[in-house]
């Protein structure tokens, strides 16, 4: 990311121009298999000799417990919820992502600011504020969006983790029960993700395919972004 840039009003006290690594974000709604694929990508990249760190939504040292407690108490208004996410993100950005990029690591982000955009928009109906809040975020080198339809998603989530309060957007009181609410909430999120996919040029990957196919597509998108990519291709040609 030689031309590292901030999304909006950036961190005035940090220069993003000397970031040697690459920032790759994997987006998608709950239950599309993001973390599984990120694990496989990390393995694949490390085998090739790239340094990799992964960073995940609400996993910062500063905020992870706070967010858990806040969600458990279901006392959240949409501003506080979004600001908690923003604080978590900022903590990871400054303590994790930027230092890693500076040292030349590939950073795989499990969810990025677009998750916050979608969740806030579904709750507020307004896009401007949340995008301003995340103005300090780095624009990723690549965003892959694991896209799924809501019917398949519902089946998948029931089969695996089950539906929970927040993934069903129960705070929004969209449906009569957990299932109805989950479907409505996730449809709204997917709709907003689809819009952003065009606006921000996400690489859309069909998450209904087999894990092998998905992984292959993800790798194909990531390959051109990797530092020294051309050299690798040449080597392959020589050896082939």
């Amino acid at each position: 990311m030689a031309d590292g840039r901030f999304f909006g009003d950036g961190l005035t006290y940090l220069d993003p121009s000397d970031l040697k690594g690459k920032l790759i974000a994997i987006e998608g709604t709950d239950g599309v298999g993001r973390s599984t694929h990120i694990e496989m990508l990390q393995e694949w990249l490390e085998v090739q000799g790239y340094g990799v760190i992964t960073t995940g939504w609400t996993r910062s040292n500063l905020m992870s417990k706070t967010i858990e407690a806040a969600k458990a108490g279901n006392i959240l208004d949409h501003w506080s919820l979004s600001l908690l996410y923003a604080t978590d993100f900022a903590d990871r950005l400054e303590h994790q992502i930027i230092p890693a990029l500076r040292s030349g690591f590939i950073v795989l982000a499990d969810r990025y600011i677009y998750t916050a955009f979608a969740r806030d928009f579904v709750r507020s109906g307004n896009r401007a504020w949340i995008r301003d809040v995340f103005g300090f975020a780095l624009i990723p080198d690549l965003v892959c969006y694991l896209r799924i339809d809501v019917d398949t998603l519902a089946l998948r989530v029931i089969e695996t983790t089950g539906m929970n309060y927040w993934e069903s957007g129960m705070d929004l009181r969209l449906g009569a029960d957990l299932y109805e609410s989950f479907k409505k909430y996730q449809s709204l999120l997917i709709e907003e993700f689809d819009k952003m996919a065009e606006e921000f040029r996400f690489n859309v990957v069909d998450a209904r395919k087999s894990p092998e196919d998905i992984q292959e597509e993800l790798r194909a998108h990531i390959m051109p972004v990797l530092p020294g990519h051309k050299r690798m291709v040449d080597l392959e040609r020589v050896s082939g």
Partner: protein, 249 residues
């Protein structure tokens, strides 16, 4: 939920009144607000009070972040905004909608002054607080830095706190000197804010009683035509009941 109001322009649409005080540490603003509180209650008003960085939601996190000194200008700013959002939603808006009086010790202007001195973008922090409502009255207690320092050193606090003195900014290894440098920059920032947002500037070097008299006169004027509402006499009304939040640690 309603859309963010423009913080500079539009007055809030609620029947209650929001009165806030601003100023650096040692300006005496909290004392003035306390005295105003007593006076309003003695006149039979139902008054709610809220102060900066006090919501259950993030207070512990801020404390922990300060303790481990891991806060950056941006996370510091965001945590305070989260605290503010939570208090706005749970403590400020309900009484305002019900037509009551709310007093706030520090408001978003504190963030505009402090966070900008810490290094976040002036535009960004203003956008961050776009969801806030404009107070009906905003007092700024202006005090020269030396007066604030001598008050704080004389007072019960004795020592300056790490972040209050801006020690995280490495301005000076000496706490008092760091406080002087940091708070002087904040004062300069406040001066711009006073103009930008039309805060009422009060002379915080005057006697406590004189300042309070001026404040009461201004508030009395502003409350002319306001019809106070209250549901009970003497007993505090619980307008919102908190769910139990499990302790995080």
């Amino acid at each position: 939920m309603t859309e963010p109001h423009g913080v500079k322009d539009a007055a809030h649409p609620y029947p209650g009144k929001l009165i806030i005080v601003e100023g650096i540490d040692g300006s005496g603003k909290s004392t003035q607000l306390l005295l105003l509180h007593k006076w309003l209650e003695s006149k039979g008003y139902k008054v709610f009070f809220t102060e900066w960085n006090s919501s259950d939601l993030v207070k512990d996190t801020t404390k922990r972040g300060k303790k481990t000194k891991s806060l950056t200008p941006t996370t510091f700013s965001l945590l305070h905004a989260t605290d503010f959002a939570s208090r706005l939603y749970h403590q400020i808006l309900p009484p305002l909608k019900a037509g009551m009086l709310v007093l706030a010790d520090r408001y978003m202007y504190t963030a505009f002054a402090r966070d900008v001195v810490r290094g976040v973008s002036r535009e960004w922090v203003r956008k961050l607080y776009r969801f806030a409502i404009k107070p009906d009255m905003a007092f700024y207690y202006r005090v020269p830095i030396e007066v604030a320092i001598s008050r704080l050193l004389r007072g019960t606090r004795g020592q300056f706190k790490y972040y209050e003195a801006g020690m995280d900014m490495n301005l000076s290894p000496d706490v008092t000197e760091s406080f002087r440098l940091f708070q002087s920059q904040i004062l300069a920032e406040y001066e711009k804010i006073v103009e930008e947002f039309g805060l009422l500037t009060m002379d915080a070097t005057l006697d406590i009683e004189t300042q309070q008299e001026q404040m009461r006169t201004l508030v009395e004027d502003a409350l002319r035509g306001y019809k106070p509402k209250r549901g009970t006499y003497g007993r505090r009304t619980l307008f919102w009941r908190r769910f139990d939040v499990p302790r995080s640690e």
